[in-house]
Amino acid sequence: MMTIKCPYCGERSEAEYNFGGPAHLERPSHAAEVSDKEWGNYLFMLDNVKGISPERWCHSHGCGRWFNILRNTETHEILSIYKMGEGVKAARGDKDGA
């Protein structure tokens, strides 16, 4: 069970969090105009990365805030933690997050 540093509350056990799938998934802003294929890609064609992947997590049993984690899905190493709306922080050394 990982320890995750919530950007608002600090370090807490993984049990306090909910995983929310990949981060930075772009919802088509003019949904009515996109093709079935584009919409299908948005809905279903997720990367399921083995390796470094940006993810959304929610501190659901804490402050209830959503944020992003850049995490290695193979080793469970957390490379970066950053707030919603901030871009991917790919820097490997930035383990403490935002």
């Binding site: 320890t3 949904a31 919409w39 080793t75």
Partner: protein, 989 residues
């Protein structure tokens, strides 16, 4: 309770040991009564009583005896206690004896000594590797599985509820030290002195590890005295916590550790019942020091599973710690120096060492020289090849072996002995290191897998790290210096299986995994069938699986797999070890989360009133709600009929408090909510309400409810009672992640507010009896509107809505006022023949009216069009979650399953979930056209009614359809999904 016998067995040695011969104990095994002493393990007591057969093997029911003195025991698996205290899967070697202990063998019937299933041993050809997949194919596995399960079980699960308590324990520490052997103890001293918070966990009842039985001297005193000195130093440190009888069972991410601590297993069940039986720890450690020691490997030769064949270290363990001679004539087989300690120790207490067969052609280590000096005969360059003795070892034979060229001499020498002590070298206990993500490396000098590549904050020390000599362990771990005699040790000779040049040996049964009855030929067979990847091999042969986790079998099996596939052990590799290291009780993991605390139900504000008035409660989405209220002797059906008719004719009252209630406030609240409903939200006028469906992005209906505009910038949203928390979280997720710029606040007030629903034609008349300062008339307070007002000094909201089809008012108020309001309404309502009604009556009435129940009449594929909302959902101009999906070809198909009413032919209601057969079929099996989702006897209509999802349903009105369930076939007519008052004439009362 068993009565006492107080004689001392001939196998008890006349030496000082850790068993107290002043304190006799009686216990039973397989129904027979034996005696033992305080300090005995069940295994040591059984050995002292001359019990050689303690179990039967897993597949072939071969007689098996105790083979070890520790957690690596693969044979002596027993069941402890009687109902309701049964504990299956216990190792006799780790069970501490107490007075009155009841133990039974497993996998044998009627007992281990005389097992009626023993002839299965002759059926060996059927039970080869992968036999599950090969033998039980015809007619099908389901035909065989009951028989196999009866034959193969290891113990019986208790039938009665467990009367004991178990606990969780969450904890943190600077340093966790796993194992209190020499390495663990000195590491604890070192870190303890530095002031660190140290947790030292030992699976045994005593600290010391191998020092509990090895005849070492440290600083000129016996090792045990040195251990006692270290333990009292540790006990004096406030920052050091020692936990005994506790096993570190799992090592997870970020140094998250689970520990299974056994507080009462060593005591009679009726003692200390105020304490939990076991405690399951969740620990976070800054650093983990793995000092788990090493486990001796058995040697592989023909019939190496007979009772009396034991690990060499176990033989001296029983002699030293328990003062027991495991036999009178001991032969030793080895490929290393360490086994010579057994010869020396046992010789010292007067036991006859018949001989030592050492694979190595010319062993010259100090221990070898010492053994020879005692007159013990060493057969260098010899291997034990076979054994005899059907109910326990009687003799062994050895042959000359040329390991270099892998050739066995045909000539044999036979020796009579009752114990064969074997040592194939030592395997560091690397389980936790592997679980932590660390890698292993095969060391050719040690012939063992040792830890390498630490991934987390941990380290292995002592023999867990491949440092086997005590002098080296202490020097490596401690800053103190100790005076220890270090013998010159010669390297181990790699040796995994007998050469196959002798036919009789080639065809013999040579056990590799005693627990799972896997032989060397099974390993070879798996290799021939191309199960060469170690992960596949493990699953195919079952080697190293289940409770044992390969403690004694892994390395031998991997080496033989390597030989069969022409690879070195390092190339074969190991599987990743998985938790738990040793079995953990289910009770300990469940801890307090059992019974009523497993998933605690929430009670309603009027719970006590309901209870006092005959409510029969049921769990509806986590809420403890009245299903119906029963008057004396009334059946459920009668009660529901009475409640329905009260609502239809007079007025009914329902505790509707679990209804999800979410406030959405802020300048952007209407725009925001427009994203969540397939109906328009922003054009809703003040104080008006609208029914809406909420979708997910796939276009599927996930919830429904009424939303009400309570202010220009505020909505109240209602959800299904089970869906409130989920839907509030869903709103939050989209607000935070997708539309953070919107100025909206979401607040789930479900449990803070009570709700009382009045339903029925007399509902308005009843409210008129109260002094409520609002106009309740149908013209000025129409259906689907809300009024905020004050009542008896309390701010309340009244919503005109209906889930029954009758005139209805839902009264919302702070939860604490709900009960007073409820009692007042009932008192005044008696004049209107008011009746409280439960969920069952509500379900009947909403079905009569054709109102859907989310999750019952819909599933995870239902879109708005399927339940009659095609037009609003597609026509809504603005975007909303799931909208685009409603235009995918799948959503536009005209033959989707849609909601219909079903009017049953005959008197029996349909079973919910029964299958609607495709057109043209009149019996199953048949393709299906849909299913029945809701079904009730309708007291209002006087016939059974149902709702269902039917392919192409709108265009099949009037059609007779066939419905199948396990009770047989029924027929029903497809009708519109509204049986009661389709013209909505009742809604205004």
């Amino acid at each position: 309770m068993v009565h006492k016998i107080n004689h001392i067995s001939k196998l008890r040695l006349d030496v000082a040991s850790q068993v107290n011969l002043e304190k006799p104990i009686s216990f039973s095994f397989d129904g027979k009564i034996y005696n033992g002493f305080d300090g005995d393990s069940l295994a040591s007591a059984l050995i002292a009583n001359g019990v050689r057969i303690v179990g039967r093997s897993f597949k072939y029911h071969r007689p098996r005896g105790i083979m070890s003195a520790g957690v690596e025991e693969a044979n002596a698996i027993v069941q402890i206690g009687e109902e309701p205290y049964i504990q299956p899967n216990m190792l006799a070697t780790k069970v501490e004896l107490f007075d009155g202990l009841v133990a039974k063998s497993v996998n044998a019937w009627p007992n281990a000594g005389f097992d009626l299933f023993a002839p299965l041993g002759f059926a060996k050809p059927f039970f080869v590797a992968g036999f599950y997949y090969k033998v039980f194919k015809w007619p099908s596995w389901h035909f065989w599985s009951p028989l196999v399960r009866r034959l193969a079980g290891l113990g019986t699960a208790p039938k009665q509820p467990d009367p004991d308590d178990y606990d969780y324990h969450n904890s943190h520490t600077d340093i966790l030290i796993v194992g209190a052997g020499a390495a663990g103890l000195v590491a604890a001293l070192k870190h303890g002195k530095q002031g660190k918070k140290v947790l030292l966990v030992e699976q045994d009842k005593d600290l010391g590890g191998a020092l509990l039985y090895e005849k070492f001297e440290i600083d000129g005193v016996p090792a045990l005295d040195k251990v006692a000195e270290m333990v009292s130093a540790l006990e004096a440190m406030k920052n050091v916590t020692i936990v005994k009888r506790a096993t570190v069972t799992g090592y997870y991410d970020d140094n998250f550790i689970t520990i299974s601590e056994r507080l009462r297993n060593h005591l009679p069940p009726e003692v200390d019942t105020h304490k939990p039986r076991e405690r399951f720890w969740h620990l976070r450690a800054q650093q983990v020091i793995i000092a788990t020691g090493a486990i001796e490997r058995p040697l592989v030769f023909a019939n190496n599973d007979r009772p009396g064949i034991m690990l060499a270290s176990a033989v001296r363990h029983y002699a030293s710690r328990f003062g027991i001679a495991v036999g009178r004539r001991i032969f030793i087989a080895t490929n290393n120096d360490d086994a010579y300690r057994t010869a020396i120790d046992l010789h010292a207490v007067g036991i006859n060492i018949v001989g030592i067969a050492d694979i190595r052609p010319n062993p010259q280590g100090d221990l070898v020289i010492a053994a020879r000096a005692l007159g013990i005969i060493v057969h260098a360059g010899h291997a034990v090849i076979n054994t005899k003795g059907s109910r326990g070892l009687k003799s062994i034979s050895i042959s000359k072996i040329d390991v270099k060229n892998n050739i066995l001499d045909e000539k044999q020498q036979k020796f009579e002995c009752d114990i064969l002590a074997t040592s194939g070298g030592w395997s560091p206990v690397v389980h936790l290191h592997s679980q932590s993500g660390g890698k292993l490396h095969f060391d050719d000098t040690l012939q063992a897998f040792i830890p390498r590549d630490y991934i987390q904050q941990n380290m292995c020390i002592g023999s867990a790290n491949g440092v086997f000599e005590l002098a080296d362990i202490l020097a490596e771990t401690s800053e103190m210096t100790f005076k220890i005699n270090k013998p010159k040790v010669e390297p181990i000779q790699a040796f995994w299986d007998l050469p196959k040049n002798v036919k009789k040996i080639k065809d013999s049964k040579r056990w590799v995994d005693l627990l799972h009855d896997v032989t060397a030929s099974d390993v070879a067979l798996a290799a021939r069938e191309n199960y060469v990847s170690v992960e596949h091999f493990k699953r195919y042969t079952t080697t190293g699986m289940a409770m044992d986790q390969g403690k004694t079998s892994n390395v031998n099996a991997l080496a033989i797999l390597g030989r069969e596939t022409g690879r070195e052990i390092a190339q074969v590799g190991t599987t990743k070890f998985r938790p738990p290291y040793s079995p953990v009780s289910m009770g300990a993991m469940a801890a307090r989360s059992t019974g009523a605390l497993f998933s605690p139900l929430r009670n309603l504000p009027m719970h006590i009133w309901h209870k006092d008035n005959g409510a029969i409660f049921e769990d509806y989405g986590g809420w403890n709600r009245p299903a119906y209220y029963t008057k004396s002797g009334e059946s459920e059906q009668k009660a529901v009929e009475r409640e329905v008719s009260a609502v239809r004719q007079h007025v009914g009252i329902l505790d509707y408090s679990p209804l999800g209630k979410i406030m959405v406030k802020g300048p952007d609240c209407a725009v925001f909510l427009d994203y969540f409903y397939c109906n328009n939200v922003s054009n809703l006028k003040l104080n008006r309400a609208r029914y809406g469906l909420m979708l997910n992005e796939d276009g599927n209906v996930i919830d429904d409810g009424v939303f009400i505009r309570v202010a220009d910038d505020e909505f109240m949203v209602t959800t299904t009672s089970g869906g409130a928390a989920r839907f509030a979280a869903y709103l939050e997720e989209w607000r935070q992640c997708e539309w953070p710029h919107m100025d909206v606040v979401i607040s789930n007030i479900t449990t803070g507010w009570g709700c009382i629903s009045l339903q029925g034609p007399k509902a308005r008349d009843l409210l008129h009896k109260f002094d409520i300062p609002i106009d309740l008339s149908a013209e000025n307070f129409p259906h689907m509107s809300m009024r905020s007002t004050e009542f008896a000094g309390v701010d309340i909201k009244i919503l005109r809505t209906s889930f029954t089809g009758e005139l209805g008012f839902e009264i919302y108020m702070p939860r604490s006022y709900a009960n007073a309001m409820w009692e007042m309404l009932i008192n005044v309502g008696n004049a209107f023949k008011i009746q409280p009604f439960g969920l069952e009556a509500l379900m009947v009435m909403r079905t009569e009216k054709g109102f859907i129940h989310i999750g019952v009449d819909t599933d995870s594929t239902t879109i708005p069009a399927d339940i009659g909302f095609a037009v609003p959902a597609r026509k809504k101009p603005s975007d909303y979650i799931g909208k685009r999906s409603l235009f995918r070809p799948e959503s536009l198909r005209t033959d989707r399953e849609v909601l219909v009413g079903l009017k049953v032919v005959g008197d029996a209601p349909l079973q919910m979930g029964s299958i609607i057969l495709a057109k043209g079929y009149d019996k199953a099996p048949a393709p299906m056209d849909g299913r029945v989702t809701s079904s009730y006897n309708s007291p209002t209509m006087g016939y059974p009614i149902a709702l269902g999802l039917l392919k192409n349903g709108q265009s099949r009105m009037g059609e007779l359809i066939k419905i199948y369930d396990l009770d047989g076939m029924q027929e029903a007519e497809v009708v519109a999904p509204c049986f009661y008052d389709p013209k909505w004439r009742q809604i205004d009362g």
